[in-house]
Symmetry: C4
Subunit: 234 residues, 4 copies
Amino acid sequence: MSENNKRYDRVLRYGSNSDRLQFFSDAVFAIAMTLLVIEITVPTVENGPKTTQAMLDGELWVALGHLVPQFFAYAISFTVIGINWAGHHRKFALTRKFDGNVVSLNLLLLFFIAFVPFPTSLLSEYGGSMPAVIFYAGTVSAISLLQFALWAYAYRGGYLDEKVDQGMYRYVRRNLLTVPLIFLLSIPVGFLFGGAWALYFWILNWPLSIIVGRYDPGSKASKASKASKASKAA
Amino acid sequence: MSENNKRYDRVLRYGSNSDRLQFFSDAVFAIAMTLLVIEITVPTVENGPKTTQAMLDGELWVALGHLVPQFFAYAISFTVIGINWAGHHRKFALTRKFDGNVVSLNLLLLFFIAFVPFPTSLLSEYGGSMPAVIFYAGTVSAISLLQFALWAYAYRGGYLDEKVDQGMYRYVRRNLLTVPLIFLLSIPVGFLFGGAWALYFWILNWPLSIIVGRYDPGSKASKASKASKASKAA
Amino acid sequence: MSENNKRYDRVLRYGSNSDRLQFFSDAVFAIAMTLLVIEITVPTVENGPKTTQAMLDGELWVALGHLVPQFFAYAISFTVIGINWAGHHRKFALTRKFDGNVVSLNLLLLFFIAFVPFPTSLLSEYGGSMPAVIFYAGTVSAISLLQFALWAYAYRGGYLDEKVDQGMYRYVRRNLLTVPLIFLLSIPVGFLFGGAWALYFWILNWPLSIIVGRYDPGSKASKASKASKASKAA
Amino acid sequence: MSENNKRYDRVLRYGSNSDRLQFFSDAVFAIAMTLLVIEITVPTVENGPKTTQAMLDGELWVALGHLVPQFFAYAISFTVIGINWAGHHRKFALTRKFDGNVVSLNLLLLFFIAFVPFPTSLLSEYGGSMPAVIFYAGTVSAISLLQFALWAYAYRGGYLDEKVDQGMYRYVRRNLLTVPLIFLLSIPVGFLFGGAWALYFWILNWPLSIIVGRYDPGSKASKASKASKASKAA
């Protein structure tokens, strides 16, 4: 590329005000979240001439009971997108500059965010089935890995606020990498023990995130615990 | 959690500029509102070889007449979401700071806002049925209680503008708590007298909101009315 | 309402920064516009064992030809919402303050904007039918009348920028009132001559908007034309 | 149009803060992107009394395999809208003023952006068919040509930042015009060699964008290459 074109690209691709990048991302997060509920269809209950209101109510409760997996899938995916929105929000609040690669990584992240309604429907329809597990775990892992890529890229490029030191960078990185760890591990777990076990395995995200939140390689306590582990291992 | 991690969390979770939080919420409110109309399907009227335009028009009017409960449900839910958006807007206009809990409470609020199209469809399909009443009343109550939780949390955390004194805090709180009061009470009303009565009961929101708007525990008139009530009760 | 409650309401309902009001409205406009295309379903063409690619292409062209009324309805409604967005944008760019009534009027406007996909589907399905004409003309008229109400309310309340003098206020008002004039008149036209004539009548919006754009009651030319009209009438 | 009306129009139609124009456009881009996935329906696999989990999984994999063209179309269209969003973002970041024509051109651009889900469905359903090729290539070309029109109009009107010199203007213009060149050329290619070849032809966008990115009419290398071409041609 010639000198001129490089200069033009610098003007076009670099920016310090990522407001529009953030609002655009917000819109995609918000729409993906809100479209999830559209997939839950209201049950049809037949209302014959002899049906009393009590019978209709009873049938409707049964029909709504069959929707429990769908409500559950809606709640999980809403939580997944919501947590990722909050994480995106926090990271960009600490980002001072961006370039064309940040825009591309962000678009790739939004690609998987917008895709979430599909594996969610698959999961609510075929809960214990391996294709559903793989699509869902794969999508959630891709989202977390892209959040990690954005964070790592911004840190290495010096795009983050000066408040973010190496310790803080690593703290966020640890938090980001637990999710794909659990979700990707759940795939072999599903193959070995059955798809339903993969779903139970996802619950491990919760205790792991607490452990990772407490772990601090710089503190004395953590060093001691490391040392004791090392001596035990030896 | 170690000192370092606590410090990182402070940087990550606290903020003074809630613009993005508000715009993201706006998007969810706006999408949930606009998706409501998608649920109303255009009626199909058969257009045989002998059908005149006048016959077609007549049948179409009849078919549109059958949609009245759907238009009604659309109007109610649009109003519910609209009023909640306006309330959210006003509260955040007076909020100066936020933390991770505000983000979480807000996501929980958006969860129920995004859910509104489902109970709305249920209501337009099975108007006088108890499951429809419970789902609708439950969703609206959850929304109001979460708006209340956001307001109370922000007030106690000292996150509100200094213009908001205790009197104003309580004024808003009273207004927020009338809605779940009516909607939650409508559930036993429905069980006792039939689901249709629960729907009529909701209309009480209107006079109650006027009464609550006028009530002022600090003014002489209110004190006098309190005193007279107390003497009557005694 | 007591003095205290009035004071609280002033703090809650008045504002000078209508950013969020505008962005929220933008989201509703944008979603309603984008949902229009969802109503156009891709035609199904049967692909038997003896079907050649040329035959399939031929059938697909025919099937797409049948969608022309839907493309047309999509284009009209996109234009209606687009023009209204541009008008909303211009009016709020000149608005310096707002109150609770502006929020309410704006929500009512958004109610009809969000409703547009329904009469659009009705129109694309039952083009020359009176129910379709009435629903469509009614919705578009309601939108224009609410834009007019917002503009008049803001002008009378002194909420507009000082650049807006009486002449400019009236100029915008004239432009706003041509649309409901044509659309409401099209309803009796439809009853008298058939629904299809109502659709043709809508085209008059175009020349009328040019005439109204040129008309200036303050200029000499307009005064002269008025005078000549008056003398003719006399 | 009278002097007064012209003056009013200037106040109404010109602006220096295009924030709302950009956020509104963002919303349309975001919704069109996110709606794409809604078109991909979860396959239905029959679950009889003798179906084992392994059989169900096998059938589900086959059914998901049939969705590959849909995933592919989703990915292409997401990329098309994403690249156009990034381009829109960059151009408006360099735009300092706008007028009514910018608003109109932008609305026309959004018209085609919002339309993308339709040709995408057509393409995923009838991949090698000429109507699908023409609709898709036509929509993408219209989008690029409107982006070009916006850029040219803003440059000629002097609405761009002073950083944008003629070289940079032309650099962006060259990049914008490669896309419609390839897509419009693919239509005769499809007629001559079959619709599938048109799809392969679209891949040429990739090498062409690299060549155009390197080409610099102002640099010595380019001049030399031009000269050598000229001498060869002679």
